[in-house]
C-alpha cells in the first residue's frame, strides 16, 4: 500500500517544487525569498498534523485499548519531530533576510513550535525508557494527549499575541491571499507532503507492529514462509 501514497506524493511535490521555484512570480514585498514558503508551510502544517495523528491515536489506544493505535502513535512521533525540526530551520533561514534575525526568543509562534519539538523528544525518550510495552503505551499516550494543548497555541499564536511571524495566508476570511500561480504549487506541495507522510507512516507502523508481535506465530510464518527452516 505504500506506493499508493508515495507515487502521487512524489509527483505532486515534483510539480509543486518546480512551479514554486521557477513558474510562480516573485512576491512584490519579499522577492524570491518568499519561495521558502513551498517547503516551510508544508513542513509546519505536517508537524502539527502529525502531532494530532499521534495524540488522537494515543487517545484511542488508551480508551479502547487498541494496540495498533499505539503503534500508529509511536510510528508518527519520529516523523513529527523531523517535520518540526524542518519547519523551525526553514523558518529560521527565511527569517534571516526578512526579519534580520535567525531566531527571536519570546516570539510566541517560534517558541511554541520549539516546545512541540521538545514534546516529541520527550514522547520518544519516555517510550524508549520503559521496557514494558503496555506501560510505555500508557505513559507516552498521556504525554501525547496533554501536549496537544500546545497545538491550538501554535496555530493561534500569530493572532493572540504580537509576533514577528506573518499571519495566515491560506485559511483566512476572504480566501487565500495569493494569486493562483503562487497558490497551486503551494497546495500541491502541502498535499504531496501529506501523501509522502502517509507512506512514511505506513512503513513505520509496519515495523512497529512487527516489533511488538515478534513473539507471535504469524510473525514467524511471515519471516520464514511455509514453515521453512529458520
Amino acid at each position: 500500500m505504500i506506493p499508493w501514497f508515495a507515487i502521487p506524493g512524489i509527483a505532486l511535490v515534483a510539480y509543486g517544487t518546480y512551479a514554486g521555484l521557477f513558474l510562480a512570480p516573485a512576491d512584490y514585498q519579499q522577492g524570491d525569498a518568499f519561495r521558502i514558503i513551498y517547503v516551510h508551510v508544508p513542513a509546519a502544517y505536517l508537524s502539527m498534523m502529525t502531532y494530532m495523528v499521534m495524540a488522537i491515536s494515543a487517545g484511542i489506544g488508551l480508551i479502547w485499548r487498541i494496540k495498533l493505535s499505539h503503534a500508529v502513535s509511536a510510528g508518527a512521533a519520529p516523523l513529527g519531530a523531523w517535520f518540526t525540526f524542518l519547519a523551525l530551520i526553514t523558518g529560521s533561514i527565511w527569517g534571516r533576510p526578512m526579519w534580520g534575525t535567525w531566531w527571536e526568543w519570546g516570539d510566541p509562534r517560534l517558541t511554541s513550535q520549539l516546545l512541540m519539538l521538545f514534546i516529541y523528544f520527550g514522547y520518544m525518550a519516555l517510550r524508549a525508557a520503559i521496557d514494558d510495552p503496555a506501560k510505555a503505551d500508557k505513559a507516552s499516550g498521556i504525554l501525547a494527549m496533554v501536549g496537544a494543548v500546545n497545538i491550538p497555541i501554535i496555530h493561534f499564536s500569530v493572532e493572540w499575541w504580537s509576533s514577528l511571524h506573518q499571519g495566515a495566508t491560506l485559511v483566512r476570511e476572504g480566501g487565500p491571499a495569493m494569486p493562483v500561480e503562487m497558490l497551486y504549487p503551494l497546495l500541491a506541495n502541502i498535499l504531496g507532503f501529506t501523501f509522502i507522510f502517509g507512506a512514511l507512516l505506513l512503513g513505520r507502523v509496519r515495523t512497529e507492529v512487527l516489533f511488538r508481535e515478534r513473539r507471535k506465530r504469524w510473525v514467524r510464518n511471515l519471516v520464514f514462509p511455509e514453515g521453512g527452516d529458520a
Binding site: T17, L21, F22, A26, G31, D32, A33, R35, I36, Y38, V39, H40, A43, P78, L79, W82, F83, F85, L86, I89, T90, I93, W94, R96, P97, I196, L200, G203, R204, R206, T207, L210, F211, R214, R215, V219, R220, V223, F224, A230
Partner: protein, 54 residues
Amino acid sequence: MNDAMAMGDYGAYVWSSFGLTLIVLAICVVQGVLRHKSVLRDVKTRIRAMESDQ
C-alpha cells in the same frame, strides 16, 4: 537560467531551505528502512535461537 538560480539576492536562503528539506525527507526514508531491517534481523535471530533449543 542563472537569474532563476540566483533568486534575486536570496539564492543562498532559498536553495539551502530546499536542500535541507530534501535531506530531512531522505533521512526519514533511510531511518525507517534501517529500523525495519534491524527489527527483521532481531526477529529472525530470536526464532532461530528458539527453534534450535527444541
